[in-house]
Symmetry: C2
């Protein structure tokens, strides 16, 4: 039997839960506000599709002024290239024979495709894969303090840039970083120092791609960057409110859930478990915030259950069968759990979009 996605026009009170839903007006406002900020600071904006994974939303972002898209994997980028996007950055070290072959097909298909590298192994693999084909634009990924991928120093960045510059089939096009929160000063210093070194070698560095969501509205503190990448802003979530990057009225995603049990006066159980909210804590002590139940805490999740401690709740306690709205800790990972996403305006379903890039981990 088909999954019970709601029809357009359905009131949210009537949908089957658990269900993440997107407020159309807040979505549009988030896109407009962020693009206006980037425009005001003359920063190119490259939204990360990981938050929504939906071509129709990407088109809204590009229509608002985004220069292109940021993807993390080749299979993600394929989805958005097929949907017509002609400027994509895949911010990942891409390796493996089959994956590199698909990357090359993508490079032929997309007008402007960038990838990143942080090691000689990645550079060699990319160069070998290009062969005599269309040259590939490569950025050096720099670790400016986040402690994930990336070369560790401007000297190492300049050295790898020279290797890319010298590698057959590759075009060194600049630098990319995913910074630590509050890392603007470190990013600026790293970019400037690397550019000075490259300048000494006569190597141009036209693209300087900075990123990150919590510090989105501090992007102007890195004037050397030419573009900024961010994803979460489009829906926003509890982590973005905590970071001060949005307010409660900017939360476009809520997860609707139903009270399925009230075993004790102080405990209710919701039907939104880790298959709806994920286990991402992102530093929070519980698994999401229930809008209508201030002080209630989602203390544990199993796959299909959320156990809620009501002992600190200051609102009227919900009966079995009541629907509640949850602000998820992390919106991107919720998107990856559902085959489709339901949109609404004022609580009435407006559209149901396929989450086209769900599950694209390759």
């Amino acid at each position: 039997m088909a999954f019970p996605w709601p029809d357009i026009g359905t009131p949210l009170a009537d949908v089957l839960t658990p269900l993440p839903v997107i407020d159309e007006d807040r979505l549009a406002a988030n896109i407009a506000r962020t693009q206006a900020y980037m425009d005001a600071h003359r920063l190119s904006f490259r939204p990360h599709i990981k938050t929504h994974k939906i071509p129709a939303i990407a088109r809204q972002q590009i229509a608002a002024g985004a220069i292109g898209l940021n993807c993390q994997k080749v299979t993600e980028a394929e989805v958005f290239a097929d949907a017509g996007c002609d400027d994509i950055l895949i911010s990942y070290n891409i390796m493996g024979k089959d994956r590199l072959a698909r990357l090359m097909a993508l490079n032929d298909h997309v007008a402007k495709l960038h990838v990143v590298a942080d090691s000689a192994v990645t550079v060699q693999g990319l160069s070998d894969a290009v062969g005599g084909g269309k040259p590939l634009l490569v950025l050096v990924e720099c670790d400016t303090g986040a402690g994930r991928c990336g070369v560790q120093t401007p000297q190492a960045a300049a050295e790898l840039a020279q290797q890319i510059h010298a590698a057959p089939g590759l075009v060194f096009d600049g630098l990319m970083t995913y910074p630590a929160p509050g890392g603007a000063r470190a990013v600026e210093a790293f970019l400037r120092e690397t550019m000075a070194l490259l300048d000494g070698h006569g190597i141009a560095c036209p693209t300087r791609s900075n990123g990150g969501s919590p510090d989105l509205f501090s992007a102007h503190l890195v004037p050397t960057a030419t573009e900024h990448r961010a994803g979460t802003y489009v829906y926003n979530d509890r982590s973005m409110v905590r970071a001060g990057a949005c307010g409660p009225d900017d939360l476009a995603m809520h997860v609707l859930a139903t009270v399925v049990s009230r075993p004790t006066p102080q405990r209710v159980v919701l039907d939104a478990g880790s298959k709806a909210l994920t286990s991402d804590l992102l530093g929070f002590a519980d698994y999401g915030e229930i809008v209508s139940l201030p002080g209630a805490r989602i203390v544990s999740l199993s796959e299909e259950h959320a156990v809620v401690d009501l002992s600190g709740c200051t609102a009227a306690l919900p009966p079995v069968g009541a629907q509640v709205r949850i602000v998820p800790n992390h919106t991107c990972v919720v998107s990856n759990l559902f085959d489709r996403m339901v949109f609404h305006r004022d609580g009435v379903v407006t559209r149901v979009e396929k989450v086209a890039a769900r599950g694209t981990v390759w």
Copy 2:
């Protein structure tokens, strides 16, 4: 472009990562060993499909002697009913008009369908939905210490059983519990006391369904139970090894990943992030165990990256491009992230099964 699922006969060394893979021989041995234990103790065994979500695996479990299946949601049960299973327990408080209508269609379709209830609201909803249709078998869900759903006392269980017994369209058929770890004694006491109360009311209680994976091989310590439910045993995972429910050689699922970066001598980054491993910690301090790198710790995950601290690693450090095998903390949630599951024997792909019940949260 189609997703790059490997062909049968592909060596695992050549697959695109991240990819969970299932060892056919260990899978078969886990099914056989667990069924033999249940048979030896004359306990009916009802595997929970949440771990695999694949009809072909359910058929292996039933062929080995399982009496039927345990599902959590109506849409899950629909998948397995369509695949031919005629004895299903949905261990969930089912509510909502559309969902109840689908439940009734399922009840007509499946020879033996049980659901559970822990409140008068659930019972009323079920009874209303049956109308004049085929009677529905209902178990009372009992909280024997796990602190999730369930009535709190044998007295409350007996009272709800009487309500079910009296409700038009419903047949009270027994008790169900999902116990706390180490809770055998509490379960046995709760079941016995409730049955004594029911006996006083002249109400039969033919089904007593106990469950849980970590204590799987203690199921015989609850002699009053007529059946046991468990899911994780079929693949096993790090939490099952910790619980003593299996050894390392019983781990049928591994997540294959590739070293995509080695930014510092003591840090590597793998391509298995929370979209492959999930953020489920289950009480562990890190996000999985890397088989070939004893002492290495997966200290953080983002969606597409795992950051590994090698400072405690006693093995040779892996170069960029190397493939590693990860034992996930929790196997069930990994299954929910992938549209298909890849099986192998001795490292060669044997089959690729659709994860038919992936994403069925309703």
